[in-house]
Amino acid sequence: MKPEMRRALARESYEEKIRKVGQLIALARAFPRRSPAQSCPSNPPTLSESPIPYRTKNPKS
């Protein structure tokens, strides 16, 4: 985001900014980040999570 846009956001009212923080919290709760352990190759996603078949074979081997 451009610095001038960020400064414009900074000038919004406190109530408006807190409302936006609330939206960010709600989004984070709805779409929690996956931990690195869930995305590492030793723990491949299930078929329902990944439409692409997961490659387990090392292409160099």
């Binding site: 960020r6 960010l24 919290i25």
Partner: protein, 168 residues
């Protein structure tokens, strides 16, 4: 009075803190931490509120057991070091030294009709400089870029508390 359904029920937190003042459990308080920074910079995600208070009880516990008991009587829950209201964690931190000065000099605000105080931008930067974690350095940088800062006041606070701004 209207209850908030927001995932960040700040007005409820401030009403409760005002209740602690009225009950004589704390002398004064102000919003600190990320929620204070957001008063001056663009909004960003944060997952708790830091309320710095000047204890009414000058004993070792700073009256924290009585504060917890009061808030639990209002339906707040305890989760580790946080008190939780409507699923949102809040930390009540006894102010001392720099943070006590920050509470005493915090300007008054009104949030959704609720009177409160929020740390000055200069105190937020000085406190971040005193703590010095990676996220504090990021906060200093963001504050210096976006917040309107009284440079004279900032320098006075830094000198009074023997602090220096880190090289960013």
């Amino acid at each position: 009075m209207k209850e908030s359904d927001s995932p960040l029920p700040l007005a409820d937190v401030l009403r409760a803190a005002n209740g602690l003042v009225r009950a004589g459990l704390i002398q004064d308080y102000a919003i600190g931490g990320a929620l204070a920074a957001i008063h001056y910079v663009e909004p960003f995600a944060t997952y708790d509120a830091d309320i710095f208070f000047i204890p009414a009880d000058t004993g070792l516990t700073a009256g924290i057991p009585a504060i917890y008991a009061h808030l639990k009587s209002l339906g707040w829950q305890v989760d580790g070091e946080h008190l939780v209201v409507k699923g949102f964690p809040v930390q009540f931190l006894a102010a001392q030294g720099l943070t006590e000065e920050a509470v005493r000099e915090a300007p008054n605000i009104t949030f959704e009709g609720v009177p409160a105080k929020v740390f000055r931008a200069e105190h937020i930067v000085a406190i971040a400089a005193s703590v010095g974690r990676k996220k504090d350095l990021a906060r200093i940088e963001q504050m210096l870029q976006q917040a309107e800062m009284d440079q004279t006041r900032l320098q006075e606070i830094l000198e009074r508390h023997k602090l220096k701004l880190p090289k960013l």
